[in-house]
């Protein structure tokens, strides 16, 4: 038995640890790669130029998707705007929860799909969008719907979309940097190669090989942690863990994948939209690659609050 304030504090702490780890990792990867660049290709501090280049390339693509995320996602998933008459519970529940959380009313959209899922996007609370499928709206009771919407509103309140965009930019930057390094070293280093930098070049090489992968894993760990934070935040708004628990249970038992989802938008949803079934031994390894923690773990965490 933990109260929601303790859960929120513990979640924040774990979130900070993962993000701290991420910052250390990014700094180390950039440092070693740039050092290796300058040693390998023989010009001083030249590596930083590559970092800038990688950051710009990775940034342009991600900032674009961050600024227009709402429009892009809506266009991909062919969502229609929700109206109060047709989607009475969806509309009024969001209205009420936004009131309770002290957030402006987000824009609401509905995807015509029988798979049960919902997601939030938009760069800040003023540009927030909450999308639900017709499957979700028709199978969940009002109390369950409150849990789901409160989860999405917590993502909005915590600027999780901004956080994941930054993480994506940085992971993308490291992947590009590593890629450049590997391609260039394939063509052979400069003849002005300095003596004595062998170890550093080797470390740089190892980082180039592994860091895109490690970066991706940390990114997914952050995504999973934010789901727990959003679950706890949802309970802080509704004070009814039972609603979200039974909603997650229903969504978990629905095995229909959502056609409109793709890898780029998977972390936004309330539950993994691909519905890949995971086994035991391999499941533990496979769960490293999931954007969402297993539903059983989420329900267990919620039950502690009940």
């Amino acid at each position: 038995m933990q109260n929601i304030y303790e859960v929120a504090a513990a979640n924040k702490r774990k979130s900070f640890i993962i993000m701290g780890l991420f910052v250390v990792f990014v700094t180390a990867a950039v440092y070693f790669l740039t050092q290796a660049f300058s040693l390998y290709f023989g010009y001083e501090a030249g590596g930083l130029g590559f970092v800038g280049l990688a950051l710009i390339i990775s940034g342009i693509s991600s900032i674009g998707s961050y600024y227009y995320s709402d429009k892009i996602v809506l266009a991909i998933s062919r969502a229609r705007p929700a109206d109060k008459k047709r989607d009475y519970h969806f509309y009024t529940v969001t209205e009420n929860l936004a009131l309770g959380a002290g957030l402006p009313m987000p824009k609401l959209y509905v995807i015509e799909d029988t798979a049960m899922n919902a997601f939030a996007t938009g760069r800040n609370p003023e540009h927030a969008v909450v999308v639900a499928t017709t499957g979700l709206l028709s199978y969940l009771s009002r109390t369950e719907l409150e849990g789901v919407i409160a989860h999405e509103l917590t993502h909005i309140k915590n600027y999780d979309i901004l956080l994941m965009s930054i993480v994506t930019v940085l992971v993308g930057m490291i992947a590009l940097l590593a890629d450049m390094f590997l391609r260039m070293s394939y063509f052979g280093g400069s003849s002005r190669k300095k003596e004595g930098g062998g170890a550093l070049v080797l470390i740089g090489f190892v980082f180039a090989l592994l860091s895109p992968f490690i970066g991706q894993l940390i990114k997914l760990a952050i995504s999973r942690r934010r789901e727990f934070v959003a679950d706890a935040g949802a309970v802080a708004i509704t004070r009814q863990p039972a609603g979200l628990i039974s909603a997650l249970d229903k969504i978990a038992h629905d095995h229909e994948p959502l056609e409109a989802a793709n890898k780029a938008t998977a972390h936004l949803y309330i539950e993994n939209p691909f519905k890949n079934k995971i086994g035991d031994a391999r499941g533990n390894f496979a769960s490293l690659f999931n954007t969402h923690p297993p539903v059983e773990e989420r329900i267990k965490a919620l039950q502690k609050m009940a």
């Binding site: 529940v93 209205e95 009420n96 929860l97 009131l99 309770g100 002290g102 004070r239």
Partner: protein, 193 residues
């Protein structure tokens, strides 16, 4: 050397300013949230007579529930007219107490239950009482955040420096029916399926 003293000093000043701004903006938000409760109750008071009129024909036999509903609505209307948020809030909870009874009356009568107008009434009533509940929740949460920051170290130093007083939020009476637990409430509920 003066640089070494200046940097921490600037940091402290920036921190004090941000905390001061937290307290000031919190106070403004609490005030706005209290007004929001009033807004929602006004909406409730306007909505209920309309809904009552639209289902009156169906629910003639449920006179007792109707009297309760009408009483609660009258209380809200007079409380809204007085402009006292505390009174409005109390009247709102009285209405919230009538709703489950109304629900039972509807559930018991299949003819009424199947009627879409009545279903709509029930949805609207639930929504309107949810809205009041969440408006109250916001006041409670904001007040708690404010009061916690005001009490804990080191933000209490800033609160004391600028004499930020404790926020009362919504007052719940210390005595009365809601504080008492009757013998029947302590026994486990019996459910017949």
């Amino acid at each position: 050397m003066p640089f070494l003293i200046l940097v921490p000093l600037v940091l402290v000043v920036v921190w004090v300013i941000s905390q001061y701004n937290f307290f000031v903006s919190s106070k403004a938000r609490i005030k706005a949230a209290v007004q929001e409760i009033g807004n929602q109750l006004k909406r409730q008071a306007d909505l209920i007579p309309n809904l009552e009129a639209s289902v009156k024909g169906y629910m003639k036999q449920e006179t007792k529930v109707f009297t309760m509903l009408t009483d609660a609505r009258k209380q809200i209307t007079s409380a809204v007219a007085s402009g006292d948020v505390q009174k409005m809030s109390d009247a709102g909870s009285q209405l919230a107490a009538v709703l489950p009874k109304l629900q039972i009356a509807v559930e018991d009568n299949p003819e009424i239950k199947s009627d879409t107008v009545v279903a709509r009434l029930m949805d609207e009533l639930r929504d309107t009482s949810d809205k009041v509940m969440y408006a109250r929740r916001l006041v409670i949460d904001l007040t708690a955040d404010y009061n916690v920051k005001r009490a804990v170290f080191p933000t209490n130093l800033v609160a004391n420096m600028f004499k930020f007083e404790e926020q009362k939020g919504l007052i719940t009476p210390d005595s009365g029916e809601h504080m008492e637990v009757s013998a029947s409430e302590t026994s486990s509920p019996k459910i017949n399926l």
